[in-house]
Amino acid sequence: MLKQVEGSAAVAEAVALCRPEVICAYPISPQTHIVEGLGRMVSAGKLAPCEFINVESEFAAMSVAIGASAAGARSYTATASQGLLFMAEAVYNAAGLGLPIVMTVANRAIGAPINIWNDHTDALSQRDCGWIQLFAEDNQEALDLHIQAFRLAEELSLPVMVCMDGFILTHAYERVDMPSQEQVDAYLPPYEPRQVLDPADPVSIGAMVGPEAFMEVRYLAHAKQRQALELIPAWADEFRNIFGRESGGLTHTYKLEDADIVVVALGSVLGTIKDTVDEMREQGVKIGVLGITCFRPWPSATVRDALSRAKRVVVLEKSLAVGMGGIVSNNVSASYAGSPDLVHTVIAGLGGRSITRKSLHKVFAEAVEGRLDTLTFLDLDHAMVERVLTREREQRRSGPIAESILREIGVVAAKIG
């Protein structure tokens, strides 16, 4: 059924259609509306026998999800930013134990300085934790990916993180096609755990493993993720058969066939990139887009194929490996058969900085003309950075950086973009 709803409401309804049995969460912007929505449904008895467990922290949220999942319950939680960091130890445990928890990450920057706005540094900080990580391009895909995530998680016995851009998607009202309960039931069978804590048939989960077997356990985790690379497209196909639309899979391509320049990105910025690409195509520029839907496992072969005829690659990412550069671009470079010099990193949108068509045009045009640097920070105020560096050279007690930059900018509320 077509609906015009907030992204968070769409995801809450999709999760509800998946018949979760335990939901545990601690509120943090911009995830809050999702779990509030689910909380209302549970308290109204619409999800019976689902239990909503209020916890005292994100660490507790993931710990409860681990316990619930190990006891055989379909378990769901959601978080963002510092919340994801606070639960990090348990996030690794959920993957290491092979528990099929589904978690929404409403992507948000990580402090300090504290910032509630969108970027991808939270999810990408957990890229090596062993969870499958899927990134939604719009709210339709966000809700669809949650349905696929439960299927994937439970078939593989691995946790799945569904990443959606905080505020940009979570707080956006747009049209979504909400599936019926019958469709979701046809796609997602009841949870049949591979391992379960059952007093009638006692087992222990979470043994200490020494050097004699730890490598093997880790190898199997890796092998299982690589196996997922074959299953994820198959389940996206099955999803299309039941729901009648393309959603999920490993990657999305756009006007790639004859593209000399390929832009690679994750999440909602793909929409703005495609609009920019259409405008540049009208001017005769052969430019295309590769959207990464599945970031973990990394779809190396698919990316390599998609970039096989690209003369230049621009990776536009909302994340930064401080002291190194791009995170996504590092992965892309490893899957590009051409020279690494032809892979450009553009760091964009950190802490919610708007990514506009105007700025994208400029940076893509530079790539076309072969003038783009290896590493670019989109719309960085170089003059401001230089003033801070000068002050630091001149004064020993130059003061806190964030506060002095804010003083220079003045009233932020007067700005629109």
Binding site: Q4, P30, I168, E174, R175, V269, T272, S354, A413, A414
Partner: protein, 193 residues
């Protein structure tokens, strides 16, 4: 694509206004995208929300920097925030006030605008009368429907009824109807002048 930017202050239902407008457009079979200028959700702080309406799916995620229409929910923002930024002279301006553009000191600024695209409506007064609270958003949307013709009053009222519980909805619908009638009368008067 038609792009609307709504300015107001925290507590005036600015974000809700954009959402309601998107629902109204959806009910007319169109694609719509509403989103807030995230963050400063403090009562009284300047807030901006955006709504795009189109006949095709909307992929663009940048803020609306060149709006086709502006709804200004709080005239005290006029000299504090660059509310008119990016608006072209054929754009629409709707301001929540009982004063005229000239009385607001905007006479020179709007001199190049199409007078039929300019409109003021005392939406807060109408809200106080019909809802009992100073929430001008629904009345302003109805005013926007009247001045722009981009959306029908029926769709605005249907969106209000979808979004709010029945009692709150009826107050807002009454305020919306009154605002619509006010703007229609104002436009007729301008046409005669």
């Amino acid at each position: 694509m038609f792009q609307v930017r709504i300015h107001g202050r925290g507590g005036q239902g600015v974000v809700t206004a954009a959402e309601l407008l998107s629902v109204a457009a959806f009910l007319e079979g169109r694609h719509a995208q509403a989103f807030p200028s995230f963050g400063s959700e403090r009562t009284g702080a300047p807030v901006v929300a955006f709504c795009r309406i189109d006949d095709q799916p909307i992929r663009l995620r940048e803020p609306i920097m060149a709006p086709d229409a502006l709804i200004i929910q709080d005239p005290t923002l006029l000299h504090q925030v660059d509310v008119f930024g990016g608006l072209s002279p054929d754009g629409y301006i709707l301001i929540n006030t009982s004063r005229t553009f000239e009385e607001l000191g905007l006479g020179d600024f709007v001199s190049g605008f199409d007078r039929k695209h300019l409109c003021t409506v005392p939406a807060t007064e109408l809200a106080l009368k019909h809802i009992g609270r100073a929430v001008p958003n629904a009345a302003l949307l109805a005013g926007f429907a009247a001045v722009s013709g981009r959306i029908s009053l029926d769709s605005v009222n249907a969106a209000i009824r979808e979004k709010f519980p029945a009692k709150v909805a009826e107050g807002n619908v009454a305020a919306a109807n009154a605002a619509h009638a006010y703007v229609v009368a104002q436009l007729q008067e301008a046409a005669r002048a």
